[in-house]
Amino acid sequence: MQLDFTHHQSAHCENGVASNLLKNNGLAISEPMVFGIGSGLFFVYLPFIKVNHAPAISYRPLPGMIFNRMARRLGITIKRQKFGSEEKASRALNEKLDEKIPVGLQVGVYNLTYFPDEYRFHFNAHNLVVYGKEGDNYLISDPVMQTVTTLTTEELNRVRFAKGAFAPKGQLYYPIHIPKDIDYKKAIHKAIRQTCRDMLAPVPIVGVRGIKFVARQIRKWPVKYGNKKANHYLAQMVRMQEEIGTGGGGFRFIYAAFLQEASVLLHNEQLNILSAEMTAIGDSWRDFAVQASRVYKNRSAQTDVYNTLADQLLDIANREEVFFKKLRKAI
């Protein structure tokens, strides 16, 4: 059994699933629009939480929030369910497929057999769509993949019931109501205001201040933790930034694409100018990743290279601070 569903590849899983599910329900909404209206751009530094034995840095809000905020702002209703057992979760999924409803699932990455081995780590906030079942194989549209794929019942159960932080507990979701007339203008205004508020938050570990905090910490890493650990922390930072959901540069480019689209919708040329500025900031995040990768590739932990990196990051933070103040005024 295969439902009518079109797979579109996306840069980020949550945006992609949201955009694909809504497109499938007749609402043409791009990935950048989902990301922008869901206020997906964020930054938080959590030194007291360790991920892969390094301090956690997140470039996005909590899993599920982008889709939830976007839905609320556009008047879309999503139904979400979690389950206590694999049987119940399987049954609910099969029922939805029988009703011809493709569903989004939150899953763990570690047991996703179609990913290359080094991409498989314990991260439980990945999203994909199940759009059918043939024999024992579920038909899977994973938005970060170019084409659709399949997972057996056993494989799917394993990823739906992955354990650890953000354990998905078999979570499935699907839109149940999409209004006929959607007020994009109001939604975009609210979303941009929230992103500006988040990024300029007066909290030391959040937004621009959070980035500055990390910059200060980076200077101390080689002295405080020694060569090996400092390099490991830096490598993890780049992984979280550029690989795990394209946080640093990648997210800035998606946000710039959103601002460009919003500029047309709102007839606001200022947003288009700011889009170009965000693109330039995204490029700087990528330059930072290039420099950082050189440092840990050469296993160098001299304080001067770490200081250079910190300066680079501080510069990005300062530019973002100016940027979000301008963006706040532009709408």
Binding site: P116, E118, R239, G250, Q260, V290, Y296
Partner: protein, 134 residues
């Protein structure tokens, strides 16, 4: 990032013919998407992470052979887990899992508990117990 700057560095993604989608601007500054084969800084970060994991696995293996820790600790590293993740998989407290790392405690674990660990690691209880010898 301009579309013609989207990196096409060979990576483990190329090996399985997988490409990532990126947002980039065209010659008029308009946003569009492009596919990337991989990017060197990312590959370096991944390689670094894998080296780190492999070092941890090798170190754990030696400690198991020396009788300093139980095979549970080795398999935890092998599956890229930390104590928190392993504890949630086997439904135990972190301190309990830490205790099970002691070879003397491990020897006395019940079949049921051993089975929980074996299932988590996708191996048999016999494999879990005998992993000290290979």
């Amino acid at each position: 990032m301009k579309k013609n700057e989207v990196p096409q560095d060979k990576s483990s993604l190329s090996a399985i013919n997988m490409k990532e989608l990126c947002y980039a601007t065209d010659e008029n500054g308009n946003y569009t998407t492009a596919l990337s084969e991989g990017w060197e800084p990312k590959t370096i970060a991944l390689t670094n992470a894998m080296e780190d994991i492999n070092e941890r696995i090798a170190a754990a293996k030696i400690q198991v052979q020396q009788g300093k820790i139980s095979p549970i600790a080795y398999y935890m590293e092998l599956h890229k887990m930390d104590i928190g993740i392993l504890a949630s998989y086997v439904g135990k407290w972190q301190w309990q899992v830490k205790r099970h790392f002691k070879p003397s405690v491990f020897q006395k674990l019940s079949g049921k508990v051993l089975q929980q660990y074996a299932t988590t690691f996708g191996i048999t209880v016999a494999e879990l117990k005998n992993s000290t010898t290979n």
